[in-house]
Amino acid sequence: MKPAPFAYHRPTTLGDALEVLSGNADAKVLAGGQSLVPLLSMRLAGPSALVDINAIPGLDTIEVTEAGVRIGALARHADVLAHEGVRRVQPLLPEALSYVAHATIRNRGTTVGSIVHADAAAEMPSVLVLLGGSVEAASTGGTRTIAAEDLFLGPLESTLRPEEIATSAFFPALPAGAGVAFDEIARRQGDYALVGLGAVVDGDSVRASYVSVSDVPTVVDLSGVPDDRLGEVALEHLDPVDDIHATAAYRAQLVRVLTKRVVTKAREAAR
């Protein structure tokens, strides 16, 4: 379980990092590495080069404004989770982050890295789509903004181009009077969820976003659905699968139970 050889670059400016990436079609960016290193060790990925961005100053920022929260590429989950301003402006972030792996992994793993890793079993891609956020991507050709709904293509597959670095992610603020909640069921606290979801309730609008139920983060509009039908309506938009961890039937049952639980919690938080 050791990674195959790769060339290693540790640039100290974003410009240098982008320069290396532009000449290396199968290079990968290394930030926290908490998802990437296991893939390399199990040899599920074998990039010819890694561009380690940890020595680039200025990428670990967490900016909070009334419009929302902008998280830099090197901001660790643990720092976002502990940030009081983040909690005030968008409480769904700390709620969901407390379910991201274990505290030890949150100390090194980055929130932006988790998003662009594009794992549908991960919490942050789902939260970004639910909140209608975006990712800022830089390349030697300039920068562009990718809306969350255009970011995820399939399992571990995003529209971020190989020559781009995701420099930050933006999460819009929670509107006044709206409420959020997040919950998931996992075999061991901190492990990948069998099923998880976040919900936003804003007036009559009820939306939920699911984790570990489909190939890409899936947002379901549950506005106007009676409480006893929430899970069934959600399942019309989801296709739970069997795997080594749970049967499809059990996942469907978790969708039913958790959807009602999380929407109720979000409604209470809105009051």
Binding site: L30, V37, P38, S41, D52, I105, N107, R108
Partner: protein, 174 residues
């Protein structure tokens, strides 16, 4: 890459300095050398144990600038700017056991001992952050570490006992 870097078996080696337990070590490693392997093989610090090697078991947990991290999920070349503390660096300056080590001894938190280094580093950092954990918080503190003897009850007791020992020591020195 620096001028001193060499190539072995066709693979680029990197000359790096790792700061571990307060001491700087110059080592030459390939980029793919995991920090856990660099500590064990290149520095001879075999207290850091290697279990699953993909971040699940926590046996390789070390402190990086005081915070617990998985040494198997960090490349040694990526750890050059950090101060690393391994289980060998947890004893008191006079060589006596740290509160967490003493609590493991008193409460039989150590069974076969394989997972122990990861628990000791995790709990040391956890108690720095939360010196008086509740029973639930003590359980949550160790949730990311697996004990293959399933000795969790005594490990949770050790967390609570270590908190008591730390508080008693602080009261003594105050």
């Amino acid at each position: 890459m620096s001028a001193q870097d060499t190539v072995r078996h066709g693979e680029q080696l990197h000359l790096i300095r790792l700061r571990v337990n307060g001491i700087g070590h110059d080592v030459e490693v390939p980029a793919r050398r995991l920090l856990s392997d660099a500590l064990r093989h290149d520095l001879g610090l075999t207290g850091t144990h290697v279990g699953c090697e993909h971040g699940v078991c926590g046996a390789c947990t070390v402190l990086m600038d005081g915070k617990p991290v998985r040494a198997c999920l960090i490349f040694a070349v990526s750890a050059v700017d950090a101060e690393i503390t391994t289980v060998e660096g947890l004893t008191e300056p006079d060589g006596s056991l740290s509160p967490v080590q003493q609590a493991f001894s008193e409460c039989h938190g150590l069974q076969c001992g394989f997972c122990t280094p990861g628990f000791l580093t995790t709990i040391t950092a956890g108690l720095n952050e939360n010196p008086c954990p509740t029973h639930e918080e003590a359980r949550e503190m160790i949730a990311g570490n697996l004990c293959r003897c399933t000795g969790y009850q005594n490990i949770v007791k050790s967390v609570e006992r270590a908190a008591e020992i730390t508080q008693a020591k602080e009261a003594e020195s105050a």
